[in-house]
Subunit: 283 residues, 2 copies
């Protein structure tokens, strides 16, 4: 029994063990890339076809907001469908929100109470104090956007900061360090792009127990083997690997995209589990 395990971590652990999977599928619908035009129908088919192989889904709010209120209705229907058809799955609302505390309070309410996400991504530029309202939710997880997966990530995130006497540290490491020291009711995790395995290694070294959400596998070209080696904790867990485009858009066939998504996610899971095994971890 793991009575003292945080409720979110217990759910995540169960979900990963049930599916033997570290995979999170990003539900980022872009109509021009989709084989059908109905977002809800598309997402439901993707969910039904992938649920057995994934521990979490991550709708990125941008893609729903870009369709206005209709998009938000698709988001609502998608969350409902996950709850009924993939009840094991964690749902991460990817919004990278962050603002002064009175505004963060409203965002946290939106993410956790209105949309009912189990976790959300946030932006810590306003300081950890600015994120306090998110951190008050005792059964949730808050992933701080730490090292992003885009080519220009380094512009600010890699700036060198003085840290103690004669020591220096990069900004993204400084944020992770602050996150790892912050006491909170919610679990605090970080987002660290799979396209930068070296940085992932540094982050894991500095925060051995931190939950890491790592996007950038697939379309963004992250090296899966390096991500596993550098990203997992001492138990071979603590890492969620997100893939979006490579799962959602592996075919343009309206008859086959469900099967194609199933195959793509199964292949990715097998690859991940092979690398886990090579590093001495099993389910």
């Amino acid at each position: 029994m793991v009575d003292d395990l945080h409720k979110y971590l217990a759910r995540l652990d169960l979900s990963m063990r049930e599916t033997r999977s570290l995979i999170c599928v990003g539900l980022d619908p872009v109509i021009s890339k989709m084989p059908i035009t109905d977002i809800t129908k598309f997402n439901c088919e993707i969910i039904n076809s992938t649920a057995e192989h994934v521990c979490a889904y991550k709708p990125n709010l941008a893609f729903y907001e870009s369709m206005g209120i209709e998009g938000m209705q698709h988001l609502e229907a998608t969350v409902k469908h996950i709850r009924t058809h993939a009840p094991h799955a964690i749902i991460i609302g990817d919004g990278k929100r962050g603002d002064i505390p009175s505004t963060s309070e409203a965002y946290a309410h939106a993410m956790f109470n209105q949309w009912g996400f189990d976790a959300t991504t946030v932006n810590a530029y306003g300081g950890l104090e600015s994120l306090q309202p998110f951190l008050e939710y005792g059964d949730k997880c808050v992933y701080i956007w730490c090292r992003s997966s885009n080519p220009g990530a380094l512009e600010f995130q890699d700036l060198t900061i003085q840290h103690g006497n004669n020591k220096s540290i990069k900004l993204f490491e400084r944020i992770a360090l602050s996150a790892s020291k912050t006491k909170a009711k919610a679990v605090i995790g970080i987002v660290a792009g799979a396209s930068y395995p070296h940085e992932l290694h540094d982050l894991r070294s500095q925060a051995p127990d931190m939950q890491i959400l790592s996007p950038g596998i697939g379309a963004q070209g992250g090296d899966l083997k390096a991500v596993i080696q550098n990203g997992v904790d001492k138990a071979g867990r603590g890492l969620m690997i997100n893939a979006s485009r490579s799962i959602l858009y592996s075919t343009q066939s309206s008859a086959k995209y469900g099967n194609a998504a199933n195959l793509a996610v199964k292949t990715l899971k097998d690859d991940i589990n092979k690398f886990l095994c090579e590093n001495g971890f099993d389910w």
Copy 2:
């Protein structure tokens, strides 16, 4: 004639001159603070009561999202009301969005095409490259969240960065510097909290022509006189001063909140114009 003036700057200049006002009113509805419960009705009354004295409105998306889809419908109705009843006013969608480029593209589409905002606030943590899709909109303005108005702002924003030989600079200054050097079709501005006039001064020194959006007057206690002195450009413009709670919630009377908002915004405008005058600027 100012044929070569950017379309956004021309509109902003006209709006400021028509109203003789640097004020932006933040439309951040919180039902528990409101004298009535209908968000759209409340916003419409605030807009009707303040339009003559303000150059812009700034709905903060958090407060609408916290009410789910119904909230987004209130946002849509509010934007429509501003366009018909205060057509001079700039509308700034305050969302502090920021993500990798493919996601920023969706956010930019949401902000500029779906909601139809004239400007939006963004978060530059992903580097200027991550904001490129926002910067492609030639008739819009993108305000980068630079120095926030909350007490914990300094945690990361004030970290000291090496900058050239034997020189150092704070992170928020580094971001402003990068913003001021970036070529873009959109106007690039910055958000710098009124609660930190010293930092506002540093930012204005580094970027003499930058558009600055300064929240934090009123409920957050920013010093108006210092903000004017430190924030305006050489022409006494280039600064928009945002007030939200002090305008929206100056009374709990459902019969008088419109009049109260009118009075509050008129008083603020007179104070601003007095300080502008003391610094040698006039309309």
